[in-house]
């Protein structure tokens, strides 16, 4: 401490408290940087692993500087045959099971399922949220709780009945089958979240529209919806992310024709050789990247979204 403590003048006191405050700010910032670094490390490490040359993935202490290789991505995204790469790397054909790392079809499946289900969620959920927010309903809270309770349903509990129903209908391994369940599991989020946005639009606006001769429906889609557009965007993006990340239902209701990224990532057996991690890292990174880009767009509403509208944030 080099600050003088002897001078009692006002300017000095202010300097000193400012210095102390800055010092504490820097100290806290330092601690936060350290904490955030820990939370980012696994993602960073996984990302690096997807560019690490064969063998370097397993070096300890871990290496962070290396000539990047695109071998793993050439198979995962470029469609170079697995056996050709493995032959170059190991000089031998190790296994025959790795032929499915080419994941562009899985990415397409993921995109189709997530975007169509998101579109449906928004189309069906918005009027429902508006109704829940506006119309006088007896037992409104019970209705909201019931909507929330569908989110509490253990996915396993829903998976088997849906599997058996789909088996009868022949919907296993079809787009509409997966899209339907993804729509239903994201609907509670959309309704409750959008309700919280509708609740913030003054009721006067509805009344003004009604006085001007609009019907309820017109008041809703010509006037009120425009005030919740940011909320609508946030809802859509979150719903897309949850659908993109959904695992168990897709695992149960698909076989080979349709495979979303998380399911694809989980089905590779890595127990036999240590070599598969490069492919997996490239696959996993490709599965995370779109979500990361999307989520940064909705940061502002994220807290509200993750609590289904309960905490405004």
């Amino acid at each position: 401490m080099t600050t003088t403590t002897s001078s009692p003048t006002t300017s000095h006191t202010i300097d000193r408290t400012a210095w102390l405050r800055d010092g504490r700010m820097w100290l806290r910032t330092l601690v936060i940087v350290f904490i955030v670094a820990i939370f980012i490390f696994p993602i960073f490490f996984w990302f690096l692993a997807s560019f690490k040359p064969f063998g370097l993935i397993f070096t300890l202490p871990p290496v962070f500087v290396f000539p990047p290789t695109f071998t793993w991505y050439s198979v995962v995204l470029g469609g170079v045959p697995y056996n050709q790469v493995m032959l170059e790397l190991t000089g031998a054909l190790t296994s025959t099971g790795g032929g499915m790392y080419y994941s562009v079809p899985y990415i397409i499946d993921s995109i189709v399922v997530a975007s169509v289900s998101t579109l449906l969620v928004v189309l069906i959920g918005t009027p429902a949220a508006y109704a829940l927010s506006r119309f006088p309903m007896r037992r409104r809270h019970d209705l909201a709780f019931w909507i929330l309770s569908t989110r509490m349903m253990p996915v396993v509990v829903a998976a088997m009945p849906f599997f058996l129903m789909y088996r009868t209908l022949g919907w296993i391994d079809t787009y509409h089958g997966v899209i339907l369940v993804h729509t239903v599991i994201n609907l509670p989020l959309a309704i409750l979240l959008l309700k919280s946005f509708f609740d913030e639009v003054p009721y006067d606006l509805d009344e003004a529209a009604l006085v001007d001769g609009a019907t309820r429906w017109q008041a809703f889609y010509k006037v009120i919806v425009h005030y919740v557009l940011p909320g609508l965007a946030a809802t859509a993006i979150l719903s897309f992310i949850f659908s993109w990340n959904e695992f168990l239902l897709t695992l149960t209701l698909t076989r080979t024709d349709i495979r979303t990224m998380p399911v694809a990532a989980s089905t590779f057996d890595t127990a036999t050789g240590g070599t598969e991690w490069g492919f997996l890292a490239a696959l996993g990174t490709s599965a995370m990247a779109p979500v990361f880009i999307f989520v940064l767009l909705v940061q502002r509403h994220l807290v509200r979204g993750l609590t289904m509208g309960a905490v405004k944030g």
């Binding site: 700010m25 936060i32 088997m160 168990l248 989980s266």
Partner: protein
């Protein structure tokens, strides 16, 4: 409203009714159909050691995860709230773990916790916490649950941080100022003023964490498959196993039992803490 209610009814009522019906049946692979067995599945449930184990694992996992995530979350949220430079940047970065697909998180931690070349294992060996004979994943599986917990804590502590931070930022300042005038120290301000004011937000964080914790599945599936033995077999994973082995009548029984317990507890919880939408 109507299409939404209809879809949600399908999602909530159909599995419930179907599971209740199925829980009194047994699937016979020979005739490829269900046959009536009365209360047999339910009798099994109450004498099923594996189900009891799964409940124990789930409760232990849930309590540890919840308490660690809440404590860390509250601590870090308060640190961020106290004032740091570039707070927005740290908040954005903290979002990333929780939007990573859980199945991929499981894979990431499997690599990090690999008993031979995982970075976390290597650090733990170096610190003398663990030995290669008894690693996080593998060995007798003594620590496997902690291995899975690590992934959960990594992914969901940021959730607690961000929600609690939002709560802290929206606290009214008058009570805090009043406490300061009354000469309260930092510790008293936290326990006596901030925490009680945070009650509602805390109740919501806990509710959402519990909802997700009791049905944890993805990490288990990817990281340990419930093993070694049944040391990491949670109730969701056990139910899935009975489903995979076409013991569908019993899957339904487990499902109905889980549903009853969780709906009742959530109902009581939301009434008790006045959680409202």
């Amino acid at each position: 409203m109507a299409p939404a209610v209809l879809l949600l009814l399908i999602y909530s009522v159909y599995p419930l009714v179907y599971n209740i019906w199925t829980s009194f049946h047994k699937f016979d692979p020979m005739i490829r159909d269900f046959v009536w067995v009365g209360g047999e599945n339910w009798a099994t449930l109450f004498s099923d050691g594996r189900a009891l184990n799964a409940v124990r694992v789930t409760v232990l996992y849930g309590m540890l995860a919840l308490s660690i995530e809440l404590t860390l979350g509250l601590g870090i949220a308060m640190l961020l709230d106290a004032g740091v430079y570039a707070r927005g940047l740290w908040q954005s970065l903290l979002i990333l773990p929780m939007v990573t697909p859980p199945a991929v998180v499981g894979l990431m931690f499997r690599l990090l916790e690999h008993s031979e070349f995982g970075v976390i294992s290597w650090l733990l060996y170096g610190a003398g916490v663990l030995t290669k004979q008894e690693p996080l994943l593998g060995g007798t599986g003594q620590y496997a649950l902690f291995g899975v917990l690590l992934a959960d804590i990594w992914q969901w502590t940021p959730f607690c941080i961000l929600i609690l931070l939002a709560g802290l930022k929206s606290l009214p300042i008058e009570p805090l100022e009043a406490a300061e005038v009354d000469g309260a120290n930092g510790w008293q301000k936290f326990w006596r003023v901030k925490l009680p004011l945070l009650r509602n937000v805390l109740a919501i964080v806990i509710l959402f964490r519990i909802i997700d914790l009791y049905r944890v599945f993805d990490y288990i599936y990817v990281m340990t498959s419930g093993g070694p033995g049944q040391r990491t077999e949670t109730i969701s994973y056990y139910a899935y196993q009975t489903y995979v082995f076409i013991n569908w009548g019993y899957t339904a029984t487990l499902g109905v039992a889980i549903l009853i317990v969780i709906w009742l507890s959530a109902f009581i919880y939301t009434r008790l803490f006045h959680v409202e939408w």
